[in-house]
Symmetry: C2
Amino acid sequence: MDSSQSNQDPAPVWYVGHHHSRRSSPFSDASLDAARRVDYDMLTIPITTPAFQAKVAGMIADYLDLQEQGASADELPVPIVPALTPADTELAPLECITQYIAVTSSWIDLASADPVIANVSRQVFSLEVAYAAFCGVQNIMIPGPAVEGRVLTSRLAQYARCILEALRSGPYMQFHILLPMTPSPIFAQTPGLNLSQFAKLPNHADAEDYVSSSDAWSTWETWNLIRTVCSYNTRLSVALGLPKQLPSPAIQSRWFSEPLRLLLIHETSFITNKHSQPVLHKGYRHLLTRYMRLKTAPWILLWDVGPVQKDPSADDPTSTSQTWPLPSDLAKPKSVRLDPNPHLSYMRYLQRNQPPLPALLRFGAGYQDYLQAPLQPLADNLESITYEVFEKDPVKYDWYERAVHAALTDWAKLRKPTSSLTRPGAVVIAVVGAGRGPLVTRALLAAEATGVPVEMWAVEKNPNAYVHLQRRNADTWSSSVTVIKSDMRSWRGPLSPDGKLGKVDILISELLGSFADNELSPECLDGVQHVLAPAGISIPASYTAHLTPLATPRIYADILGKGRDDATAFEVPYVVMLHAYDFLSVPAADDTDRFLQPDVQTAWKFEHPVPRDVIKQAALRRGGSAAGGGGGVSGGDGANEHNARFAALRFAARERGVCHGLGGYFETVLYGDVELSTNPVTMEGKSADMISWFPIFFPVKTPITFPDNSELLVSIWRHTDDRKVWYEWMIETFTKVGGRMVKINTSELHSSIKNGCLM
Amino acid sequence: MDSSQSNQDPAPVWYVGHHHSRRSSPFSDASLDAARRVDYDMLTIPITTPAFQAKVAGMIADYLDLQEQGASADELPVPIVPALTPADTELAPLECITQYIAVTSSWIDLASADPVIANVSRQVFSLEVAYAAFCGVQNIMIPGPAVEGRVLTSRLAQYARCILEALRSGPYMQFHILLPMTPSPIFAQTPGLNLSQFAKLPNHADAEDYVSSSDAWSTWETWNLIRTVCSYNTRLSVALGLPKQLPSPAIQSRWFSEPLRLLLIHETSFITNKHSQPVLHKGYRHLLTRYMRLKTAPWILLWDVGPVQKDPSADDPTSTSQTWPLPSDLAKPKSVRLDPNPHLSYMRYLQRNQPPLPALLRFGAGYQDYLQAPLQPLADNLESITYEVFEKDPVKYDWYERAVHAALTDWAKLRKPTSSLTRPGAVVIAVVGAGRGPLVTRALLAAEATGVPVEMWAVEKNPNAYVHLQRRNADTWSSSVTVIKSDMRSWRGPLSPDGKLGKVDILISELLGSFADNELSPECLDGVQHVLAPAGISIPASYTAHLTPLATPRIYADILGKGRDDATAFEVPYVVMLHAYDFLSVPAADDTDRFLQPDVQTAWKFEHPVPRDVIKQAALRRGGSAAGGGGGVSGGDGANEHNARFAALRFAARERGVCHGLGGYFETVLYGDVELSTNPVTMEGKSADMISWFPIFFPVKTPITFPDNSELLVSIWRHTDDRKVWYEWMIETFTKVGGRMVKINTSELHSSIKNGCLM
């Protein structure tokens, strides 16, 4: 790695290898060493040789001869591919094998509609996979099901089933399916022989049965089918072929969400700069920067680049051999040497010159797509380290301080009466759920800055945090704070030394979860509202929960894994730093080809304080005396029913996709115009660089496929009974046919009732 | 029941009740007795009274008044419906309650987009369901989510969620959702007050959000959503309102497949015959005949028929009371009496005059939709009773006899050489898998009829059946048969007394399963083929497996139940007498409005004898010496791979629907033009009234919804390794958008590998 880079964090290492379409250097420790000397990290190697290819082609030709001589296809057994001989493969279980990516034959056609061609192709493929597994290959690359750029829709499942079989027969290998981002002429090239040329297509293979190669999304759709058949196997990933012309931002974003493990950059993608050196254009460089920030950065394969010599040892006259020339004069300074491997040098240059990571990616390193159960601070007592992580947020507490500052300023300006019994004229502030006291500090700072006298209370139920608060009061707050050990819902309010019960003017809390209300802020604040003076205010004043549908294949695979042991894996929302995902509802692109903001909609809102009549009614219902049948609608006495919510949200999806669930965010108005937001559309403007909250994710059990111009109708509930709060969600899809929206799918109703948040 | 009916089986009893839209007779044992005296079996009863309705309406009006006086909606608590008083309900836990169907209020709107109306509606609904459950109601009818014939698509989920809640709070009740077959003006009537008239619709309730009431399929779509949200709960069923004009055969068939438990026939559906009596037109009568043959016949509710008197006791001037007049002169003979309840009498007349049941329904009574694991006759030894059931088939053995007759006739005509070592000129027949010998008997009869001399062998592996065969040989076949105890695959062939091994000329077997090859007929016949003479023939000569996509909600619910204990419940095909199902791929209707034949496609074919080269290659592969990597494609040595199959079938679905799986059938050519078929399209022509086989059913785990003009692409495999045979299947759906087929869904890949058929 180059140590000359400017930013502090070490630049991440890129793994760059070399791939040749036809043949590469011979398989040997020496070949690999030669490649590594010029700084390649890995090589690809075809599993079988041209000699093997010729043998199989000969078998098929013989078979077809017999047919032409009049033998009926029914009477002829399918040709059997015999076991490999040393002439058929260069591969061997050498130590260097871990640095090689084995490549299965591209001249077979697993998706053939001709049963004989399909059968022989399967035999070749099985042989190759089994032999690669025997040799200890760790990574195997498999050409996608494209035959001259076209493939029968009705045979994609047949191809996918072969991959599933391969996953079983090579249980320790990672399988990379080579697919172009978008159909591309490079991939349509079928150099030399191709078994599909022998195929006899059945009558039913009509034009409608072909995947249109002109459709930019067709290779993604193919991938979606393969991984669906293979049940999102985590050993299955994409070797993505980047085309010369990059496709739309929407397609780039979609592939970003998929398990990319290899990126292939073909020689034709490079352009020449004024120094006659191969470089990549700006869009390409941005794409690489984005893709290389994936949690597991893909490996890059330079494809058919560099000097190629005809291989004199090969029988096949088109066969070539790769050599790895070293700079001719190692003694000269690097800058004046002639670079014999300029494409690779350019990739290393890009690697060294990556822009620094954004704050959130630096802060969240390692947490990308890692699923966490939401906190239950009401039921559990948090540990100090958890508080400490939150307190590190560079934005959140500053904004709280601004909010308190604004509230005190307004209070003074409006000459509102205060509630203090002990210090007439002082505004009574209570921080409820004070934790280790960061909001107390900030409120005191705001009071000092505004010059408004305050009487400060801190209420905390966690006995461990309570110790810490008392110590801070003595050490830092000059004992100016009254610290109370209590669940805020049981606190009767400020008690003066002469035993009189007072009220609170400003109630400050930080009870919000990733989806605003999911850590029961509404229930807690309802429970403490009786201490608030009639003119009192709550910070936060209100909060809203927001949603948008997402494609998250990586997270889906992860939950599917959890689901093997846990029937409720899909019935619970997760807190997760969303990373490898794609927004599915994005407004129509303008002509600038920019990456556009998604449609993130508001599900519901909570405001504090709650109107007195509502609180009164809730109290009346407690115990079942008010409502008919004694009942809340979702069970219980209904005392908390004013905190139930429902939303029906309609999202337009312009491009086809597959929905794995809903991303959830929140916004909150602390006071006035001081707001916090994790909503990707507004967070930059409202609270950029805030790191305290990851989004929430509501999964769906069965991924929901939909075509272009669809609508996703999301129904989501916040349910409550006497003891807990839970969510339910479902998604229905519609698509426009003949000007009318028609129903195309309905998910199950998902419910977190078994993992509800306890009140 | 009338004993004068002509057919032998007693006509099934119809349960007929009475339903009144507004009010019925008072709830009491006496009312019920009166209704039963005129031959009604049950009555409906509203759970709450008009007084209750007025009370709730008053609450809402008060609430709206407060709003109009300037109170903000946010500040007003939602009105709470108080507990029921005796004035609010007539219902009580009397003994007669089991004969009553309780009806929830139709004046509420559970699907309202106005949160206050929705909330109050939910309160009323919860109260009613809870009180009905308390009273011991067994059947509860709930008006569907239609408000003046229109309902917000985006709020159907909200309605459905209320039903789910009700299923939980009334765990011993059966819930009937009242829906018209197709949107109908009768259901759009909202007599008197309706809460929805108070609703304030939010801005987003635009025109596109409404279910079009002109779409004939919209009520079925609504039902499909409700039961999906309720996870196909078996306590949830349809109370189907039959409209005056019956909809298309396609819609009639679809509802037939749904859990119909109540059929409502409105007074306006009756026409008057020349005797001025109310009758139903022919299409209606056919529909009733069809629906009343459901395994659990629905109950019929006559709706708003008969004399209705204004109820003098009710406050509501529109309220009415039903009385049940008895014939005025009971002494006169029935024929000349004036019938005061002519609609009911007509239903009883229809009941007595139902056409006799078809043979298959008589034979299969009780087996409708009952899921059975396919037989494994190769792995298990069948019991005598199983053989006996099969031997009762009125068609199958006759057809075998015809086939043997034709084969022997041809044999003699063609002067083919025979293989007999002991009786020169005799045709050697072997019945392999002879069971209790029915085919031996038939072959002997055919030989006698043709006059062709035969040498008869019977081979059977089941030691118990072997005893039986020997006894029959002595008793019935004059010891003319040589009975061999052997698995056919180990039988070396006919052995002459002098120790010479002969060959078989005609090999007869009955190894077919519901999907042709699913009981391993191909593998068994391969294994015995070595005994066949070069010119020998196999009866059957060939067989084919057939498929068509189906809607089977009842079966789906059943497998879902099994799935709670068995993870492979959806990964295995079932043998089942398909009953409450609907064909999803039916060609376009002509103008005759007939019920049309489905599109049933051929998946694959097996022919016997298998070409010698194919058998030879298989033998060569056994043990792994021939194929590369030693391997069959699906594992094992590949010796049985010539019996693997794959099919990709494309089915057009004209009308929208939901697919729960694939119906499987077979056809076989026994010999020449003698064929058997269970394919619903051809069975009438090829082997009408054959009862030996029920269809097979391949389920899908997640039902697949699709819109009109879709295509279902079915991929199905017959896989094999050295030890077993199994199937895999998946379904992809496409729909036509802008002239192009676009992908809309992909099922999982289902596999019976864990329950494969052992070889």
